[in-house]
């Protein structure tokens, strides 16, 4: 269970998150929806300990991870697929995975399992990360995060700029992760994609909690979507 308890955070003097709370259960996909600049990426950075919290706390399976130094947070079992991929450039595909495997000392079998999910990466192990195609880079960003065998996974726009077949592949992986009991916090721009995969949706506006509801209810009533992410 990943839990954010009234977290406030920001950059320097500019506060972005204001007492934001949410929780994701194991095997659940919670989607964070909001306009550009609402604070979705900031939320993920704050959870990862990459931004200091002004107040509030973050818990993972009963452990207060917001008290840990930043590099200990992933070691507690938190995987992160950042917006814009942010692979380790200059390193090969295999080395990018190696960094993920080292995070929590995952065994070799984890690497094989991950590569089974993304067979295209297996053919490109010695290729430098920055020379992969956009879709392959996104796969590597996912694979790298899965190498730490996460209990909870933060996905920031994992299908940004991908063609439909690639989006399908990524979505299937996400569905399989849910089945295996990972708690997934997902940020997505495409509302249709969100509604087909998410269990619950939390709206975020100006760094504050908006409504929370089940994806099913939202499918029937689009008015909230228009209110929070419409133009």
């Amino acid at each position: 269970m990943l839990e954010l308890r009234e977290i406030s955070a920001g950059y320097g003097h500019a506060q972005v998150l204001r007492e934001l709370s949410l929780s994701v259960a194991p095997g659940e996909i919670l989607c964070l929806l909001g306009r550009n600049g609402a604070g979705k990426t900031t939320t993920m950075k704050a959870v990862m300990g990459l931004l200091p919290l002004i107040s509030g706390s973050v818990w993972l399976d009963g452990q207060e991870i917001s008290r840990l130094p930043p590099h200990r947070v992933p070691q507690a079992g938190l995987g992160y697929v950042p917006q814009g991929r942010r692979l380790f450039t200059g390193l090969s595909v295999a080395q990018n995975l190696e960094i993920g495997l080292r995070t929590r000392g995952s065994g070799r079998h984890v690497r094989d399992e991950v590569l089974a999910l993304f067979p295209r990466l297996r053919e490109r192990l010695s290729q430098r990360a920055e020379t992969l195609s956009g879709g392959e880079q996104q796969m590597l960003a996912m694979a790298r995060a899965l190498c730490i065998e996460p209990k909870a996974l933060l996905l920031d726009e994992p299908t940004e700029g991908l063609q439909p077949s690639m989006i399908d592949a990524i979505r299937q992986v996400i569905a399989r992760l849910r089945e295996s009991g990972v708690a997934i916090l997902l940020v997505e721009q495409r509302v249709d994609a969100v509604l087909s995969v998410a269990d619950r949706v939390v709206f975020i506006e100006n760094g504050r909690n908006g409504e929370t509801m089940s994806a099913e209810a939202l499918r029937k009533d689009h008015s909230l979507i228009d209110r929070y992410v419409g133009i």
């Binding site: 992933p74 950042p82 450039t89 080395q95 960094i99 995070t103 730490i148």
Partner: protein, 308 residues
């Protein structure tokens, strides 16, 4: 002496300069590449290496080789530990901000320099080379009897100078191996690529930074120990290596280790050759001019991949 042997002699002198310069500049480049810190005090770590070498060599009695080889280990270690302390107490507190760390390392430059003046004093002092055999070099001659060799008067080097070149090459290979083949190197390169993502994957970035700053300073100190039997230790000796290292790092491409080594060889050799035939001042002028040209026409450096 004919022109040919004369050029060989100049090249050998240049190769010694290049070897020492490559070590120093790789230290600077490593720190800039991984930490994005421009270390203005890098030349003072070089100077400290030489000064410590003098203290060690003088403190130990017996064969000069004993003192020298002890210095070769002790000086880089001490300087490396000092640099790690500087990283943890000063640079970390500044959050590795690019501008503020420049100001901080300028301050450090004066502290180290004046500290050396107050303790070691204003004299230049030599450290004896561990071995120093003069080696006359042959030059080929095509005569009536076919190819033969003779020993032109003045064409010679010393066993120590050759050893400096070999030692620098070995250490550089070691650094290359560390960066490409070890876990520490992998972690350092990941941190260089993206500091935030390194943290998000469990890399203790602060410890990596301390390590890199220590290794960078240690390389400068090692270079200084190698050169001090040829050049003498002096509290102001850090200025030239700092300037030349910056020239080399800019020409080679900021943060690129192979580029740094190639640029060090170009600058070192041309420095040696131009100094022998013309004057050392002209050599510095031309090197600075080359930097200007590189900055105008290829700002990312000869081997750099992205504009810094």
């Amino acid at each position: 002496m004919d022109l040919g042997p004369y050029i060989l002699l100049a090249t050998l002198e240049g190769a010694v300069t290049a070897a020492v310069l490559a070590l120093t500049a790789v230290g600077l480049s490593l720190v800039f590449g991984v930490m994005r810190v421009v270390n203005i005090a890098h030349g003072e770590f070089f100077m400290l290496g030489a000064v410590i070498a003098w203290y060690v060599a003088n403190g130990l009695s017996g064969h000069p080789a004993t003192g020298f080889f002890a210095a070769l280990i002790i000086a880089p270690l001490l300087v490396g530990v000092l640099a790690m302390a500087v990283d943890m107490t000063i640079l970390k507190r500044l959050n590795y901000d690019p501008e503020r760390t420049i100001v901080a390392t300028i301050g450090l430059l004066y502290i180290l320099q004046q500290g050396a003046l107050m303790t070691y004093g204003p004299e230049a002092r030599p450290v004896e080379a561990p071995f120093n055999t003069r080696i006359a070099l042959p030059w080929p001659e095509w005569g009536e009897t076919g190819l033969s060799f003779y020993y032109p008067w003045g064409l010679s080097t010393t066993s120590y100078k050759l050893a400096v070149i070999a030692a620098a090459a070995l250490v550089l290979l070691g650094v290359w191996g560390m960066m490409t083949r070890t876990k520490l190197g992998l972690v350092m390169r990941a941190t260089q690529a993206d500091r935030e993502m390194a943290l998000a994957f469990g890399i203790p970035v602060e410890r990596v930074y301390a390590m890199v700053f220590g290794i960078g300073a240690g390389l400068a100190a090692l270079a200084a120990v190698l050169i001090v039997p040829i050049q003498q230790a002096h509290y102001l000796m850090g200025a030239d290596p700092l300037l030349l290292s910056f020239i080399v790092v800019i020409i080679g491409g900021l943060g690129s280790l192979p580029g740094t080594v190639v640029a060090a060889i170009i600058i070192g050799l041309s420095d040696g050759i131009i100094s022998v035939f013309f004057s050392p001042t002209l050599a510095k002028i031309l090197a600075t001019l080359l930097v200007g040209l590189v900055l105008v026409f290829r700002p990312q450096g000869l081997f750099g991949t992205r504009a810094a």
